[in-house]
């Protein structure tokens, strides 16, 4: 439909002026940098926890080989991709989701909503209850990924922060809280 032929004054001859402005989409560089760093470290911690902790290992064992999932923000990231290879090893595969087969997407609807979770202002279950994230893929696998995320968060965060990040703080053994946690930290920094 063109604009030709639209010569009527619909409201009866008033010729008022409308203020108009265009607002280009802006980017929040600091928040993106923070989220990229957190997701990078979190991905390496998932890889480390899968090698150290029995709970995380058993969750990954139930997933098929060559299974890949990503956690990120709609529409343009940042993202974190973690996969289980043919040999059953869990690897952090970086942040690129293009040209890669992703079996499960766990995406927050806006980078600001992902930021609330990684700034520990809102836990993952609360974000889920508030309809902040969507899942593309198998729901049972998504539940397993959320359980893995919870365990890794408990490994990485001090108790007062972890309490805000998970639904219920678990009662873990002393070894799991100290030695395993230290191993996860070392492996996450070292990347193996």
């Amino acid at each position: 439909m063109g604009t030709d032929g639209f010569h009527i004054h619909i409201t009866g001859g008033k010729n008022a002026m409308t203020d108009f402005m265009e607002i280009p989409p802006a980017r929040h560089y600091w928040k993106r940098w923070y989220l990229s760093c957190m997701l990078w470290f979190f991905g390496r911690a998932v890889q480390a926890a899968a090698r150290v902790d029995d709970g995380v290992r058993s969750e990954f064992a139930a997933m098929p080989d060559n299974f890949t999932f990503c956690l990120g923000a709609f529409p343009a990231g940042p993202c974190m991709v973690v996969g289980k290879d043919a040999g059953g090893r869990v690897r952090h595969l970086g942040s690129a989701i293009a040209d890669r087969t992703i079996h499960l997407h766990l995406m927050f609807k806006h980078p600001a909503l992902l930021f609330r979770v990684f700034a520990f202002r809102e836990s993952t279950p609360v974000a889920n209850a508030r309809n902040r994230l969507y899942v593309r893929g198998d729901v049972p696998r998504a539940c397993a990924v959320v359980r893995i995320m919870d365990m890794v968060q408990v490994f990485l965060l001090p108790k007062f922060l972890a309490k805000r990040a998970v639904k219920r703080y678990p009662a873990w053994s002393l070894k799991r809280r100290t030695l395993d946690r230290a191993q996860v930290y070392v492996r996450a920094f070292a990347g193996f």
Partner: protein, 381 residues
């Protein structure tokens, strides 16, 4: 046998903290990549467009922002929309802003000539462009209803209901007490009538939510005056969440109005307003509707199917379970009367609490008897 019920609400309502941040995702689901925002000067002065721009940060969504300065802007808006290739409409505001957005949507999808068709209810069955409604004040439900009034012509279609309503305290502006009262009472009357007389469980669910929102917020808002000075910014901020809840109730009443266009309280309220047109300051539309509602309940106490159950959303579970079943209809009416009584104490010039006190004579009430009495439909359970 299960009865057949029909209730259509095509609007997705997003309410609460950070509800605006969900907007880019919801728009992408409707293939909207370039929204055209219509707003008014008050919203721009309060920098609400910046809230919207903040929500669209990091999402590749450019916004075109048109500030409505006069009702005669539709042609300018049409040319801006078409020339710059926008594909969806957002109405950031209430009343005139939303009606203009709906008219613009009609002009774009059905051609501008459609707005010049002869007066009367226009049935428009073709789909329209995505329309997002972000209220800045509580209103009377017209904004979310599937109708629009434009240059004296009324256009009716479920497609005119907004696709998304985003109601959040961040976009609420200060609202005068009279407008708050009008909005609250209007929503209460519509929701109460739908709850008490409708057999549709969907309608009653919506109505119940609307009644709870009004009962939670109307009295605190009426007791807390609207401050405009800077010293009272904190008090102003405390009002924003109740105002958002009231706007939510108004949105729900709009959904109900779309499904039940012939609500008795609306018609009776309009009749009362017409009779007492010499007292526009004393009688608001919402108040007239509630006065008519009370009269309707009084006249239909024995035929109204759900009047007793109305007590539950009007009060709470403890109160509801403490009242014996046969007394619940009387108690529900008493609660509404009590609300009017308490509200009257907060209004400096007072407020009528019955149709007689509003200056309606018994003869005029009897002339309106068809609107103030409920007749059960044939075959109703």
């Amino acid at each position: 046998m299960t009865a057949l019920h029909h209730f259509l609400c095509r609007t997705k309502t997003a309410f609460g903290t950070h509800a605006l941040a969900h907007l880019p995702f919801d728009l992408s689901g409707m293939h909207a990549r370039k929204p055209f925002v219509i707003t008014d000067q008050a919203a721009k002065d309060a920098a609400l467009h910046l809230e919207l721009a903040r929500a669209c940060r990091d999402t590749h969504l450019p916004l075109g922002l048109a500030i409505l300065t006069d009702a005669g802007d539709l042609e300018t808006l049409y040319h801006l929309f078409v020339d710059k290739g926008y594909d969806s409409i957002m109405a950031l505001g209430t009343g005139q802003v939303v009606q203009t957005a709906k008219a613009l949507n009609l002009a774009i999808c059905h051609g501008p000539e459609r707005l010049r068709t002869p007066a009367g209810a226009e049935q428009l069955n073709n789909p329209l462009l995505p329309l997002v409604y972000i209220p800045t004040h509580p209103e009377t439900g017209q904004d979310t209803a599937g109708e629009t009034l434009f240059s004296g012509r009324r256009f009716v279609s479920p497609n005119l209901m907004p696709d998304i309503a985003v109601i959040t305290a961040d976009t609420m502006l200060g609202t005068p007490g009279a407008a708050v009262l009008d909005s609250g009472l209007s929503s209460l009357a519509i929701c109460c009538e739908a709850f008490a007389f409708s057999h549709s469980p969907f309608a009653r669910s919506y109505a119940s939510a609307g009644i709870c929102l009004v009962m939670d917020t109307l009295l605190p808002l009426a007791r807390q005056p609207d401050h405009k000075d800077l010293l009272c910014q904190k008090a102003q901020k405390n009002r924003q969440l109740p105002l958002a809840k009231l706007a939510h109730a108004a949105a729900i009443s709009g959904y109900i109005q779309s499904n039940y266009p012939d609500l008795k309280t609306r018609q009776a309220g309009a009749r009362v307003m017409a009779v007492r047109s010499d007292q526009p300051a004393l009688l608001s539309a919402g108040l007239c509707m509630v006065l008519a509602l009370v009269q309707l309940f009084e006249n239909s106490r024995h035929t109204c199917p759900w009047l007793g159950k109305l007590l539950l959303p009007l009060t709470d579970t403890d109160h509801y379970t403490g009242v014996p079943g046969p007394e619940q209809p009387d108690e529900a009416v008493r609660i509404i009367r009590q609300l009017l009584h308490v509200l009257a104490e907060t209004v400096p010039r007072g407020m009528p609490q019955t149709l007689e006190e509003a200056g309606i004579t018994p003869r005029q009430i009897s002339e309106m008897s068809d609107l103030l009495t409920y007749t059960p439909p044939q075959g109703a359970p």
